[in-house]
């Protein structure tokens, strides 16, 4: 037997104060629910490790147990006195300047060629030129390990076929060439990425402006010099930024191709960090290298954004 019971709910009208309280509570609950998981992962795997490395860099620490052997700034002093470290920075700077002088203009030139006007098969060209960017660095490096092989490699064979009496060049084993061989590989892999960015920039330039320039009597070079490239300014500034940061971060390709050798000729900050910090378990020393790397990145980024890219933000807002 069941009796039907009606429950009479008390009709309470929430006061205004209650309602705003419930609303703010709900808002913060929503924010917490959505933002907390992400922010916690970011905190634990990004912010904490990075800020801790400043602390660890003051110790001599092989990673077993907590760091106890406090050494002050001696790691940094050792770092500055290590000629290999100084050379590694130099190599990173060479990679950086070569990519600014060669890689970016090449990408821009190709973007200008492929990017506009009527061109049959443009999408196919664009797709092919971008393919290396999708390859993993490991595959890139392995393929080029073969291409640059001193006796069997494709590169020497091609030159041998073109140039009579060509003497095979040990691309990755010659101290004077290895760094440039690596630069070649990096260009092969990354210029498609910059090209895509330039093409996007080119598409956002209204055609009327260039047309107007032509009507006013500019030749093609002048249109390019005084209209197209200035209008591409924000994209060019962005690619310079990415390219500089990128060249300080190269590791995998260099590591697989040369491991920083021969005789440290291709050692960069990242390979130095791996070789002398991680492989030798000198975690305090390695942390000091990491801190130097952070500082370079941070100062460059903030300075560049404040000084060079400020105009782009101003335009956008």
């Amino acid at each position: 037997m069941s009796t039907i019971r009606f429950r009479v709910l008390p009709r309470t009208v929430p006061s205004v104060a209650d309602e705003t309280f419930i609303r703010t509570r709900n808002k913060w609950l929503t924010i917490g629910l959505l933002a907390l998981p992400g922010m916690i992962i970011f905190l634990v795997f990004f912010l904490m490790p990075i800020s801790q490395s400043g602390y660890y860099s003051l110790f001599k620490w092989n990673g077993f147990g907590p760091p106890t052997d406090f050494r002050g700034f001696s790691n940094y002093v050792d770092l500055v006195n290590d000629s290999i470290f100084i050379r590694s920075i130099g190599h990173s700077l060479i990679l950086m300047s070569s990519s600014l002088v060669i890689q970016l203009p090449l990408a821009l030139g190709l973007a200008l060629l492929v990017g506009r006007g009527k061109l049959f098969g443009r999408q196919i060209f664009r797709a092919i030129l971008f393919v290396p960017y999708v390859f993993s660095e490991v595959i890139t490096a392995l393929i080029w390990l073969y291409v640059l092989h001193p006796n069997l490699g494709l590169m020497n064979k091609v030159f041998d076929a073109i140039i009579p009496n060509f003497k095979f060049i040990p691309w990755l084993a010659d101290r004077n060439i290895a760094l440039y061989a690596i630069f070649l590989v990096l260009t092969w892999k990354f210029f498609g990425f910059y090209m895509i960015l330039y093409m996007a920039g080119l598409q956002s330039i209204p055609k009327d402006l260039e047309e107007a320039g032509r009507i006013d009597g500019c030749n093609e070079v002048q249109v390019l010099r005084f209209i197209t490239i200035p209008l591409l300014g924000s994209t060019i500034r962005l690619t310079i930024f990415l390219s500089v940061l990128g060249s300080f971060q190269q590791f995998v390709i260099i590591w697989i191709l040369t491991q920083g050798g021969p005789v440290n000729a291709t050692s960069t900050i990242a390979t130095y960090l791996f070789k002398y910090g991680i492989q030798r378990f000198a975690l305090g020393y390695g942390s000091a290298v990491a801190v130097v790397l952070f500082c370079i990145t941070l100062f460059f980024s903030i300075g560049y954004q404040r000084i060079v890219m400020r105009q782009d933000y101003a335009l956008r807002d």
Binding site: I31, A35, G38, Q52, L119, W144, I196
Partner: protein, 295 residues
């Protein structure tokens, strides 16, 4: 007089032809440059594929030759029947799946909070998150490694997945936030008037509308996770946990002189990547350029 008349009409015609001639020349220059560059880009990958379908001897004799002793399916068979390969494949799939699912979910939640909600400290949090753009994984690898060790995640796939999520998040959030902000506020107001909750609006209106952006972010994450080499190298000591980039390096170490086998391995890894790229090219380009590049 007739000559005179033709003389008057002739010049414009000639000049018109002159322009055409220039254009044709320009087109020829364009195509030549493009073809040369395309060849340089393709040649290394092509040799890898051509190496994979021939014997090592053939490959080393001429890098660009066609298979004369028949296509060496045996090369591929040896790799595809290797349990280590499939094990690495499984690990790569697990890492990639984990990074993409967790990364995209968390990033879109964060992007929603940063684009659609108002609260004190929002810009501060967002700026802190944006800091992440400055430090890619390579730069911060040592601190990350120390942290993973202290959390006891060495030899654990989570030790690879979670840092990759953390480092992918800033970029993803910024891309998604841009898309979310572009969706008009009127829509949000209409949804709330119709009795939709904040979460409901996010889940049933915003997310479906931002599908292209989410696809773009997911695609970039797939590429990053599938290709990652450095982090697994440090975190995973156990060979059973190695993903493909580590697997192929180990294979290369073992079969160093059998070039055909290594090239076959590379080919096997390239093909799905290229297919994936062809299928998702649109999203990759959107992701990298913020949707500016079309056609």
């Amino acid at each position: 007089m007739i000559n005179y008349a033709t003389a008057v009409t002739a010049p414009p015609r000639r000049s018109k032809r002159h322009i055409n001639y220039n254009r044709v020349l320009l087109t020829i220059v364009k195509y030549t440059v493009l073809c040369v560059v395309t060849l340089i880009i393709l040649a290394p990958s092509l040799t890898a594929v051509l190496g994979g379908i021939r014997t090592t001897g053939e490959f080393l004799a001429e890098p660009f030759g066609l298979p004369k002793e028949g296509i060496q399916w045996g090369n591929f068979e040896r790799i595809l029947t290797n349990p280590d390969f499939w094990n690495s494949f499984k690990n790569s799939a697990l890492i990639t799946g984990g990074v993409v699912i967790i990364g995209v979910t968390l990033s879109s939640c964060l992007a929603f909070v940063f684009s659609r909600m108002r609260f004190t400290g929002k810009m501060l949090l967002f700026n802190i998150l944006s800091l992440g753009l400055l430090f890619p994984l390579v730069v911060a690898i040592l601190p990350i490694f120390i942290q993973i060790r202290q959390l006891g995640l060495i030899n654990n796939l989570w030790g690879v997945i979670l840092p990759m999520v953390a480092f992918g998040m800033p970029g993803s959030v910024i891309i998604l936030r841009g898309f979310f902000m572009a969706i008009p506020t009127e829509l949000e107001d209409a949804a709330y008037i119709d009795g939709c909750s904040t979460l409901g609006f996010f889940r049933f209106i915003l997310l479906p509308m931002a599908r292209p952006a989410i696809a773009a972010v997911a695609t970039l994450q797939v590429i990053a996770a599938w290709n990652e080499y450095f982090l697994p190298l440090l975190v995973l000591n156990d060979q059973k946990l190695w993903p493909l980039p580590l697997g192929i390096m180990q294979f290369q170490g073992q079969y160093g002189s059998e070039w055909a086998l290594i090239m076959a391995y590379i080919t096997i890894l390239i093909i799905p990547v290229v297919l994936f790229y062809i299928l998702t090219q649109r999203f990759i380009v959107t992701g990298l350029t913020g949707g500016e590049l079309k056609g």
